[in-house]
């Protein structure tokens, strides 16, 4: 980690998507998305299943081919600012039976920063250990990853991202399948990152916690429905437009809750 809290990156905009269209096979996943995300915010990307949320992150990371449009990260092409970006994939996307310790995984966060053909040095190890401490996993450094709980797996991934010491963190469902304690620990950490001027973008599923956790929101359903500060964009009618007829029981309840709150706050 940096010795002193780093100043906010000079760029006002962390992510820009210009008329982005992405298609798998012949079906569009993202359609003409035009969006810029200001830096220094804690951002939720919200939408129904299959709305293209993960694809939005992956398109910024150069991991999916774009049908049209382009993406800029801190005003530049991703390849030029790669070391300033850390990505946390979905926890289920990897096989946790892989032979590695927690520390091995966190150390992977240093691979892209130092030369690929150099062994990680003492500095890399220190950074990795500090990252583990920050997620409360210091004592699990030597634990086999096959023996971690879901929450511990997520913290390990988070520590790997912290070890990258980035300005922009992109996380695919960091709260999926984790226990309440881990969820609180993660959100505290994300807030701390935000308060130090970093930008954090999370694909998020739980509509009920959007207001509490995030200060900026992107509503997505193949097309961009709304984006902006939570107070301006996270509104019932926008949510209805995002989810259409697909609001599940939980989401409906959340929307009702939201409506009540909005009603109260206007009184």
């Amino acid at each position: 980690m940096r010795a002193s809290p780093a100043p906010a990156p000079p760029e006002a905009t962390a992510l820009e998507f210009h008329d982005l269209t992405v298609a798998y096979h012949t079906k569009p996943v993202l359609w003409d998305v035009d969006l810029s995300v200001p830096s220094g915010h804690l951002v939720a990307v919200v939408g129904p299943n299959g709305a293209g949320k993960s694809t939005l992150l992956k398109s910024a990371l150069g991991l999916v081919p774009l049908s049209s449009g382009y993406v800029r990260v801190f005003g530049q092409a991703y390849d030029d600012v790669r070391t300033r970006v850390a990505y946390v994939p979905q926890r289920e996307s990897v096989d946790w039976d892989f032979p590695a310790s927690v520390f091995d995984v966190v150390l992977m966060g240093r691979y892209g920063r130092r030369g690929w053909f150099r062994r990680p040095d003492a500095g890399d190890r220190r950074t990795a250990r500090e990252a583990l401490e920050r997620v409360g996993m210091a004592e699990y450094a030597d634990r086999q990853i096959s023996r971690l709980s879901g929450g511990q797996q997520q913290r390990t991934f988070l520590a790997r991202a912290l070890a990258q010491d980035a300005d922009l963190y992109m996380m695919d469902e960091p709260f999926a399948g984790v226990d309440a304690v881990t969820e609180r620990a993660i959100i505290a950490l994300l807030r701390e990152l935000r308060d130090r001027g970093r930008t954090v973008v999370c694909v998020h599923h739980d509509l009920q916690t959007v207001r509490e956790y995030f200060d900026w929101v992107v509503l997505l359903n193949m097309r961009l429905v709304a984006a902006g500060p939570v107070d301006e964009a996270f509104l019932t009618e926008k949510l209805q437009a995002t989810y259409g007829g697909r609001l599940g029981i939980l989401e409906t309840a959340a929307t009702q809750l939201l409506t009540e709150r909005q009603g109260r706050s206007t009184k």
Partner: protein, 359 residues
């Protein structure tokens, strides 16, 4: 019987016998279990061979194919210990059994009519010489056995068609209906084992994999319907095995090897030219789709506000000619209309966007 005709018929019967269970192997994503079984029955066949001096009587076929079921069971048991993944389990079990078989063959080569190469590609050319007397006629024994197995497989699949179909395409539903998935699985694997063993003498342990999988995979590229797929797989198998025979005569090479090669060629043709799944059809579809995307993206912008060619080029960052081409196509199709320099979207254009994006 004419020896040539006998060989062609043996090849066709083997192809049909294999294509029937092979279709389900391909659909269930278990092609490699077929591969594993065909290798692993070798020690069983060798033992049977050493005892009876023949591998193609029905009792021997059934006895030796028990080893096929044992293989499937071993693979699953090993996988279920949680110590190795399923693909690894397959890849360690069958080579071990096959190695055992090869070792037995090597130990007893010369004492019996069995050699290493025969294990790999069989000797279908000997089929006419190996005869039994049936109903007063002298007839090739492999032909009788393979025809028998083909009929057996056909009867089994016709009798259990509905059950197999449900178990293959909707396992949860099958379980809910009280069809035991384990029973269906082992029945299929038993069929594969019997078929493999029956084919052994004529086409060997490895080339039988081509007979099991390739015609079925080819049929899968050509149709969506199970019944049609079964019929197609049998036809493709029988026709290409016959073609393989004549190729072998021209090349003076292994008949079974050439049969596998022609099956591969049939697959190649289907892969290239299949009406919906083929490479050509896909490429055309993808190009059309790309063009539709481009048009819909332009329309999307016109839907927000009317725009000139220059404005669209600036906004989309596409080459000028490309945008001009699309605008021309859109106006011709009356999806957009032009008013001097400015283009705007028509109601039909809105529908078009909806259709492209919504699909």
């Amino acid at each position: 019987m004419n020896p040539q005709l006998t060989i062609v018929l043996v090849g066709a019967c083997a192809a049909v016998a294999c294509a029937l269970p092979g279709t389900f192997l391909v659909l269930r994503g278990m092609s490699l279990l077929g591969d594993a079984i065909s290798h692993a029955v070798l020690p069983g066949i060798v033992i049977a061979f050493l005892i009876t001096n023949s591998a193609s009587t029905l009792p021997v076929v059934i006895g030796a194919s028990m080893l096929g079921l044992l293989t499937v069971f071993l693979i699953e048991a090993l996988h279920r210990t949680g110590r190795v993944k399923e693909d690894t389990s397959i890849a360690v079990v069958f080579p071990a059994l096959f190695a055992l078989g090869v070792l037995l063959v090597a130990r007893y080569t010369g004492q019996k009519d069995l050699d290493q190469e025969c294990v790999l590609y069989g000797e279908i050319a000997f089929a006419p010489d190996n005869t039994i007397v049936l109903l007063g006629h002298e007839i090739s024994q492999p032909l009788v056995v393979l025809a028998g197995v083909a009929v057996l497989n056909l009867v089994l699949i016709l009798a259990l068609f509905k059950e197999l179909k449900i178990a293959t395409f909707d396992a949860p539903l099958a379980a809910a209906l009280g069809l035991s998935p384990v029973l269906v699985h082992y029945l299929l694997m038993g069929t594969v084992s019997v078929t493999t063993v029956a084919c052994f003498e004529s086409i060997g342990a490895i080339l039988v994999v081509a007979f099991l999988i390739v015609p079925a995979a080819t049929a899968h590229l050509l149709t969506d319907r199970l019944g049609v797929m079964l019929g197609l797989a049998c036809t493709i198998g029988a026709v290409s095995s016959t073609g393989g025979y004549y190729l072998a005569r021209a090349l003076d090479g292994s008949i079974a090897g050439c049969m596998a090669a022609t099956m591969g060629a049939a697959f190649g043709v289907a892969w290239l030219l299949a009406p919906r799944e083929g490479i050509v059809a896909r490429a055309l579809r993808s190009r059309r789709r790309k063009e539709q995307f481009a048009r819909a993206l332009v329309l999307e912008r016109l839907g927000r506000s009317q725009a000139s060619h220059g404005e669209l080029v600036a906004g989309l960052r596409w080459p000028e000619d490309r945008v001009r081409e699309i605008l021309a196509a859109l106006t011709t199709a009356e999806l957009a209309r032009t008013d001097g320099d400015a283009f705007s979207i028509t109601p039909a254009g809105h529908d078009f966007v909806q259709q492209v994006v919504g699909s």
